[in-house]
Symmetry: C2
């Protein structure tokens, strides 16, 4: 161990500037430095960054990740809070999927009806110009 930042980046899939950014916002601790002022990391940071990257990929916000990280440091605590963070995130994801599906339908219909002719007959332009053309009420 004693990895330079680039190696840590390679091993975790988190980009170098992003690692420095995470240090800046206190998501990871400031690591020790070489005499020449370069950061050196150990196993702990690999784990922590993997956790962070994974949670980010699942769409958790940085503040939630902060909470989850704090929890994971206290193995004896109840996981009720972690559960509720994940639950409410799942609900949010469901909402996003629903919204996108409705939107998708609207887009597909709009494109489908476009006669590929002139703008003056184009359903894409027309639908965008007038909400009344929408089948679904996509503004939830």
């Amino acid at each position: 161990m004693n990895l330079p930042i680039g190696e840590l980046a390679r091993r975790t899939g988190v980009k170098v500037p992003t690692i420095r950014f995470y240090e800046q916002i206190g998501l990871i601790a400031a690591p020790p430095r070489t005499e020449g002022n370069q950061r050196r990391y150990g196993k702990t940071e690999i784990d922590r960054l993997n956790f962070i990257r994974h949670a980010r990929e699942l769409g958790f916000e940085v503040d939630h990740i902060r909470e989850l990280l704090a929890m994971s440091q206290e193995p004896q605590a109840s996981c009720h809070q972690a559960d509720s963070i994940a639950q409410s995130h799942l609900l949010e994801v469901d909402r996003r999927i629903e919204k996108l599906k409705r939107l998708r339908g609207e887009l597909a219909r709009m494109i489908d009806e476009c006669g590929h002719g002139r703008i003056c007959d184009c359903r894409i332009i027309e639908v965008l110009a007038d909400h009344g053309h929408c089948a679904a009420d996509h503004v939830a």
Copy 2:
């Protein structure tokens, strides 16, 4: 007509600061002003803002909206370009839906397996810590 900005906002569902912002980035034209320097709008702006709002709700980026608006001003032009903007946006929406669905599965499984006990046995923390626990490869 000759609507103040608040009335335009009410009629289009676009917030007052957002209207001013759109003017600033050149998405809508600077309207005439009263002697006291207040903006006054007409029918044109209602239509244009409705178009913009609608396109934003469908997730089009401002730059794409700019192009679509420019096209809509030329009724004799071919709508091929509008079609291709909408097509590629549809593809993007499809990609987002797919990604969210995979993610949703991962989240649901993670929550499901959480025994609601202590952090040391919590699957939520565990799964986040180790990508290897994932069933699906959600990093596309």
